[in-house]
């Protein structure tokens, strides 16, 4: 299963004071707090780790069709490789492990989490929330050979989005994320 999370770094910086008392304690494990506080750019790692946890949460919730929970400290992230334009790591939740890839620019972070180390996906970014669903529907329609006008994106009882064709679920794995000026989706190019 896959999940993604996008962060508009400008919005994140304007809305949050991660130095606020209790902020790190409520969201991050002691090991994660150490990574953040020992780094040269704590704000970057506050958001990179958050994106890793959030993307993994989405993948995990989808895998087991779980009810929503706000339990960020149960998702334990580790960093493996930190480069100028990406950060590779893993996130553990219970017995499950997710591989994460954070792509970074000065404006935004986008994290992809997956159970497999390497996955074949389509990734699409836009600054228009309205166009993202129609773009995703077009892609799914190409993949599944279904007319786009017969496809819909809906949410199930656990608020997990899925594609449907004439009211019946279509087997496709995807994840959508919005934040500030940015939206992104990922779509797995594999059979379910």
């Amino acid at each position: 299963m896959i999940g993604n999370d996008i962060i508009d770094l400008e919005v994140a910086a304007s809305q949050h004071t991660w130095k606020r008392k209790g902020f790190l304690d409520k969201l991050y494990t002691p090991q994660e707090q150490e990574i953040i506080l020992k780094s040269d750019s704590p704000a970057l790692f506050v958001w990179a780790l958050w994106a890793m946890k959030e993307a993994s949460y989405k993948a995990h919730q989808r895998k087991f069709n779980l009810p929503r929970r706000f339990n960020p400290k149960d998702y334990c992230s580790k960093l493996d490789d930190i480069r100028d334009n990406y950060i590779l790591g893993t996130v553990n939740i219970g017995e499950c492990l997710y591989y994460t890839e954070v792509h970074r620019s000065i404006y935004k972070l986008h994290c992809i989490a997956s159970q497999e180390r390497s996955i074949n996906i389509v990734e699409y970014h836009t600054s228009s929330i309205d166009s993202i669903k129609s773009h995703l529907i077009t892609k799914i329609s190409e993949e599944q050979n279904i007319k786009p006008e017969l496809l819909n994106i809906q949410k199930n009882e656990n608020f997990i989005p899925y594609a449907s064709h004439n009211g019946k679920p279509v087997c496709s794995k995807f994840s959508i994320s919005h934040h500030g000026k940015y939206s992104a989706y990922i779509l797995a190019l594999t059979n379910c």
Binding site: W50, F70, N71
Partner: protein, 84 residues
């Protein structure tokens, strides 16, 4: 403190983080922070910290995990105020 008073205060606390203003019009027990108000998940922690400051209570992890609607928050606040 009555349920209504707590809900009124909660509405005030969440307002700065709301991305869907319409969701505030019929703010009640069933209002969902993420789905109805479109509060970003990273902002939920700000709501929780603001609630802690407002009521001088500490919201433990287990309680935080289930704080998804205004009704959930109201019950947690009352439980903490009773020191349970």
């Amino acid at each position: 403190m009555t349920d209504k008073e707590i809900l009124q205060k909660l509405k005030k606390i969440v307002t700065p983080y709301v991305q869907n203003e319409e969701g505030l019009n019929d703010f009640d027990e069933t209002t969902d922070f993420l789905n109805d108000l479109k509060i970003n998940s990273a902002n939920l922690v700000d709501v929780i910290l603001d609630v802690e400051d407002e009521y001088k209570i500490e919201i433990d992890n287990d309680s935080m995990n289930g704080m998804l609607t205004a009704g959930d928050a109201r019950k947690i606040i009352q439980r903490k105020l009773r020191n349970e």
